[in-house]
Amino acid sequence: MGELRAKWKVNMYAWLLLLPSLIFLLLFTFYPVIQTFILSFHQADLGSPEPFFNGIDNYKQMVEDEVFWKVLTNNIWFAIGTVPTSVALALAMAMFANKALRGKSFIRTAYFYPTVVPMIAVANIWLFIYTPEYGALSHVMEWFGKGDMNWLGDQNNVMWAMIFMVIWKEAGYFMIFYLAGLQNISQELYESASMEGASSWTVFRRITFPLLMPTTMFVSIIAFTNSFKLVDHLVIMTKGGPDNASNLLLYYIYETAFSFWDQGMASALTIVMVVLLLLVAAFQFFGMDKKIHYN
């Protein structure tokens, strides 16, 4: 009996400590999520002053909405374009920054600085890099005798331009995680590998890479969610244009909610996005986790 009471006391204490955070979590995470879920089954736009229940109409409309499909496809291409490359680049950069004997801190700073620059500033810098005629990229193209390209004003180029910029921005950030991961791998492993005369490729394939898997998983989840969270750059650089060629899901949700004031539809879109992200995260956690080797 006394044992039970002691246990209850400990648990109670823990719950009480957690309570403030729980309240905020409920208030600012779960409550809005539930509200959004409910609202997604309502017609709540400018044409209907009082929101009313309309079942799955919003979802039906969404399926018929060309822009939605375009945005979703864009987002998938955007994820495919940015996630693997930026993660691979981050790993390569981390290996290099870890190895570099001279100018170590300079290299790290150089790689990391894109992460420190504010998003809006980044967008403005790149806006002018991509400007036709006198943008930095146009000058480079001229050296190679290539004509002028309107990077952001062309439907076929704009997505590549955004992907390139985001890789530049993200790789340095992920590099920090890899650097930490690399520092955690015990030196003894490398020493014994060199005694055995293993080639550096083998060392990477058999020691470094497998032991970095937890970092890789963490980083790729972050990278994936980031690819769905991009909004700031779109606002400054393209507004999702031309003709939705660079529009992504979250920006479309923003437009639907705050330019069209169609809250029902915006809620439905949000639910789709949340479910999508949860599915992928779940797959990454439960699917990949089994194959991962922890120290």
Binding site: L16, L46, N150, G153, P242, F258
Partner: protein, 438 residues
């Protein structure tokens, strides 16, 4: 056990903090509801956006300060709310939260949206009590067009603009064109542009990244009619005239090759002009002061070239007042609007910013006369107002505008043909407007 009591205490404290916050906000809204604080002053919240370069927040704050001095019983608190889009979002959120601002500057095109939300007050009673139509009729009709529905006035023009043609006089001289004779027709625009074009310089640029519909509307107006009905319930996108207008736009880059291909960024077109990368540009008069200050060459401002006639939509922001605030505050808000639009203030505002002064009598003011004398370009926008029309504004405005922007961009980037694209846009827009046509 003592620990538990302590932590319980901490929890209770934090709970009371949370509730304390919420009761704090509710008491402040109560204050707002009463319309006066303890000292008997009427406090007004005033939301305003900034959309062009220059120290506009300082100017607006200064004007509010002046008003407070003149009216000791009223205190206006200006709140800078970001871009037009941000301001609208904040106002809409505030309206939904039942705490609307007392007065706000928003795009004149938000009129129908605000009415659909049942958020704004008609101003006729105030106008009637305060000099009647004499006041309202002093505003240029092109600006008022976006303020009125069914004979009622809902907003008062404030920071208003229109599209004009900027041209580089030095470049004109260089290729043997008369710098005092800008192109007056579409044909001349093409001819002049072809002459002005050389390596590293285009003839003309029309921005197409944001406000694409606005530029298109100018071309449509020059070729005949406006894009929407006055009540904002219908749009006319796929008329032969509009197809022709869009074709002309595309031809400038594709056929005549005097404009860069693809979408031209709204913000970089003025930079191109200032850098001499384009000899002419279509842009808002809101940039006049900016171009005047940073241009290193002699430049001119002209009417947009005509097809059938001259034409340009107006643009920019108006004063709105909101439902759900009490009578005393509404009186004060009206007083503030009157103050801000007085002729001498409208004149000074125009000089400081480059926006068009909204009232005819503002041009009788000494400051304005002097300004126009020293800088004749400043009067071009006013003179063009004779051909000015309402900016595109419909019910469900956000959706319809985006649809049109997307359609135009898809044509400009060569993904679709004008006639077909506009026809599809018309069908889509009809669907979007259907709930308002019942």
């Amino acid at each position: 056990m003592r620990k538990v009591v302590k932590s319980l205490f901490a929890v209770v404290m934090s709970m009371s903090l949370i509730t304390g916050c919420s009761s704090g906000t509710s008491s402040s809204t109560n204050n707002a509801g009463q319309g006066a604080n303890s000292s008997g002053k009427t406090e007004l919240s005033f939301y305003y956006p900034v959309a062009v370069g220059g120290p506009l927040t300082k100017i607006v704050d200064g004007m509010a300060e002046e008003f407070n001095k003149e009216n000791p019983d009223i205190k206006v608190k200006p709140v800078y709310t970001g871009s037009y889009q941000d301001t609208t979002t904040k106002v809409q959120a505030a309206v939904q939260g039942k705490t609307p601002p007392d007065v706000a500057v928003m795009l004149s095109t938000e009129l129908h949206t605000m009415m659909d939300m049942d958020a704004i007050l008609p101003l006729d009673d105030f106008i009637a009590k305060d000099g009647g139509s004499e006041y309202v009729n002093d505003f240029f009709p092109g600006f008022l067009a976006n303020s009125q529905v069914d004979g009622k006035t809902y907003s008062i023009p404030f920071q208003r603009s229109t599209i004009v043609l900027y041209y580089n006089k030095d470049a004109f001289k260089e290729v043997g064109l008369d710098p005092e004779k800008p192109p007056t027709s579409w044909d001349e625009l093409v001819q002049y542009s072809a002459k002005l074009k050389k390596d590293g310089r285009y003839g003309v640029e029309i921005p197409s990244s944001s406000f694409t519909y606005w530029m298109f509307q100018a071309l449509a107006l020059q070729n005949g009619k406006n894009l929407m009905s006055e009540d904002g319930k219908k749009v006319f996108l796929d008329t032969p005239e509009n197809v022709e207008a869009l074709q002309f736009w595309v031809d400038l880059s594709k056929k005549h090759q005097v404009m860069p291909e693809g979408v031209n960024e709204w913000a970089t077109v003025p930079s191109d002009f200032l850098e001499g990368k384009t000899a002419m540009m279509f842009h808002t008069t809101g940039n006049l002061t900016n171009v005047k200050k940073s241009g290193k060459f002699d430049f001119g401002v002209a009417f947009l070239p005509a097809k059938k006639n001259y034409g340009s939509p107006t643009g920019g922001g108006n004063f709105y007042m909101f439902k759900g605030t009490d009578a005393k505050k509404q009186e004060a808000a009206w007083k503030f609007i009157r103050f801000m639009t007085e002729p001498k203030r409208a004149a000074q505002w125009s000089v400081d910013t480059g926006y068009v002064a909204t009232r005819k009598s503002a041009y009788e003011e000494e400051t304005m006369k002097q300004y126009v004398k020293d800088f004749p370009a400043a009067s071009v926008a006013r003179d063009q107002l004779e051909y000015g029309h309402a900016e595109m504004s419909t019910h469900n405005n956000g959706k319809v505008t985006k649809l049109l922007n997307d359609t135009l961009q898809s044509v400009i980037t060569g993904q679709s043909e004008p006639a077909e694209a506009l026809k599809k846009a018309q069908e889509e827009a009809d669907k979007m407007l259907a709930p308002f046509n019942k």
